[in-house]
């Protein structure tokens, strides 16, 4: 029995590695000096939000490491012709994404989800927020009140869109940008500048890197059965 189950596990592992679709991995680098982040002083002046922070938080438009490791870049795939990959969403069965409101700021401020994927908006603050979305692609717009300790808000969006805006008008410095894809082939670069787009089926693609301030860069890539590396360099003049 034990031997049999061991053989089964080995068999499954082997089978998985054989059909393993490749990952697209890469690093995003920023060259040049971006404008310095601005302290969000109105947050500190707010009687409820201010005490939630020891230091004044700043804007997060350019999140850059010491060696130019560039975070918060949304990397996604288009087909070889540069068209959106549609109808491949696994959003309905994917784990929900979470957008938290903490310290009167959205966390994370850059997020990506699939069409039909559940997005949970949470309020971890001792104050009221209003969750206000604005779409440029025809997604349903919301403006919902969320009380402290109030229940989570559950959203799902059905149209692909880059950087759909979430904001709170009670605290007018609160913003998050949620990108929506009709496929699971996307990633966001971390503070080390690295990203991984997992399980990409073999074929020719266009890799698209989007930064909210610096716009879009593309590279053609052919994916076989091995991982492919695609690096991007953004520049601030």
């Amino acid at each position: 029995m034990k031997v049999f189950s061991f053989a089964f596990v080995v068999g499954v592992l082997a089978a998985t590695s054989l059909t393993h679709a490749a990952d697209i991995i890469g690093t995003i680098t920023l060259t040049g000096t971006p404008p310095a982040a601005i302290p969000i002083t109105p947050l500190m002046n707010d009687p409820i939000c201010g005490p939630l922070h020891k230091e004044t938080p700043t804007t997060h438009f350019y999140v850059v490491g010491k060696n130019g490791e560039f975070a918060d870049v949304v990397v996604s795939l288009k087909d070889a012709g540069g068209n959106e990959i549609t109808g491949k969403s696994t959003g309905a069965s994917a784990a929900p994404a979470v957008l938290d409101q903490k310290g009167c700021l959205y966390a994370p401020q850059i997020l990506a989800i699939q069409t039909g994927q559940k997005l949970i908006v949470r309020n971890s603050d001792p104050c009221v927020h209003n969750v206000h979305t604005t779409s440029n692609a025809g997604n349903t717009e919301h403006n919902d009140v969320q009380m402290p300790n109030g229940p989570d808000l559950n959203y799902a969006f059905d149209k692909p869109e880059m950087f759909m805006k979430f904001q709170c008008d009670i605290h007018p410095w609160m913003f998050a940008w949620v990108s929506i894809f009709d496929n699971p082939y996307y990633a966001i670069s971390g503070t080390d500048g690295k990203f991984v787009i997992k399980d990409v089926p073999p074929g020719k693609y266009t890799v698209v890197a989007d930064h909210r301030k610096l716009g879009e860069k593309t590279q053609a890539v052919e994916v076989g059965d091995k991982d492919v590396t695609v690096n991007f360099t953004f520049e601030v003049k």
Binding site: D46, T59, N130, D169, I170, H171, W173, K213
Partner: protein, 347 residues
């Protein structure tokens, strides 16, 4: 009915309503300056509550500006209704009754537009709401003017009639100010921060580069805490037009002040009024520059809105007073009734 009698309490009530409207205009300006237009997501309720019973714990951040604006709007609405009923009862001039009624209709429409701006989350309606507010302010100020003693004296005293060319000049200037105001309202409701953040130069030039590369460059280098929408070439050009129109208005108002003084004499009320107008323009241009230098500080931007409203209303009232002092009207007074329904002079 005796038209020559001025109902002083009614006049003072109209003045009070005008002051309350000015205050409301400022509060509305603060809502937009603080980006708080959508902070109370529902209307006419507030967070599901009857707006008059909204618990104080909600009055925070942007909600404070939006909620107090709604409360003040209700106050002005009530004052306007009382004023119009009072006019119906006590003012014998038929056109005044209808003017009072149109003020009520306008403030109701204004309230509905404000509500729809929230419900539909439509920035364009914010522009309409801002412009309607200015028109309503003119109407209320006109009601205050028409109920006052000053209006009566205009036709009573043997004043010099105001030449048509001068009236045309001031009217043109007033229309120009109105256009400028619409431009300003459009700029304020883009929620995109300053499209040009330097003054008097525009990004170091007389006329800024509006190529896509330049716009991309501006956006890469501007970080905003509140108004995060990227700027567009349209917005840059809009601000340039606003600056140019401001200069044209300065020239026109100077011309109005000079010509009024020359044609009517320095002691004439209209000459003093026009001088005041010129002073306002100078203050307004300074406030416009200060809006840029302070990176759109909410109080400075709101002051710019308020002085803009005063500029428009000054021009509009000047035109109304001048109309009552135009030559054909003075002839009509012998019939006992002016075209605008001015007071009948004592014989």
């Amino acid at each position: 009915m005796n038209d020559t009698k001025v109902i002083r309490p009614l006049h003072w009530f109209a003045v009070l309503t005008a002051c309350a409207t000015f205050f409301l205009l400022g509060m509305g300006g603060l809502v937009t300056s603080h980006g708080a237009g959508m902070s109370v997501p529902d209307w006419p309720t507030s967070f599901g509550y009857n707006m008059f019973f909204l618990p104080i714990k909600f009055w925070r951040g942007g909600v404070f500006y939006e909620h107090t604006h709604r409360l003040m709007a209700s106050v002005v609405g009530c004052l306007t209704i009382i004023l119009s009923v009072w006019i119906w009862i006590q003012d014998s001039r038929r056109w005044m009754k209808w003017l009072g009624t149109s003020a009520v209709l306008l403030i109701v429409a204004q309230g509905v537009v404000g509500g729809l701006r929230v419900l539909l989350s439509e920035d364009q309606l914010g522009i309409v709401h801002g412009v309607l507010a200015q028109l309503f302010f003119i109407l209320i100020c006109a009601l205050a003017l028409f109920t006052g003693r000053f209006w009566q004296r205009i036709s009573n005293a043997g004043k010099i009639s105001v030449p048509g060319s001068l009236r045309a000049l001031v009217l043109t200037t007033t229309v120009l100010i109105f256009v400028q105001l619409v431009l300003g309202a459009t700029m304020r409701h883009q929620h995109a921060g300053l499209s040009i953040n330097t003054f008097p130069s525009a990004y170091g030039k007389l006329w800024p580069d509006t190529s896509p590369q330049a716009i991309q460059y501006y956006n890469e280098h501007r970080l905003e805490i509140m108004n995060v929408n990227p700027i567009t070439a349209f917005q840059v050009i809009l601000q340039m037009v606003h600056r140019i129109v401001a200069l044209v208005i300065l020239v026109f108002v100077s011309l109005c002040a000079w010509q009024t003084r020359r044609q009517l004499g320095a002691k004439d009320a209209l000459a003093k009024f026009a001088a005041f107008w010129l002073a306002l323009v100078v203050v307004q241009i300074f406030l416009g520059a200060a809006t840029i230098w302070t990176n759109k500080a909410a109080d400075v931007a709101t002051a710019h809105v308020l002085v803009g409203a005063l500029l428009l209303v000054t021009g509009a009232l000047w035109c109304m007073i001048a109309s009552a002092r135009s030559a054909p009207l003075r002839a009509a007074e012998h019939e006992g009734f002016g075209a605008l329904g001015t007071f009948v002079p004592n014989k």
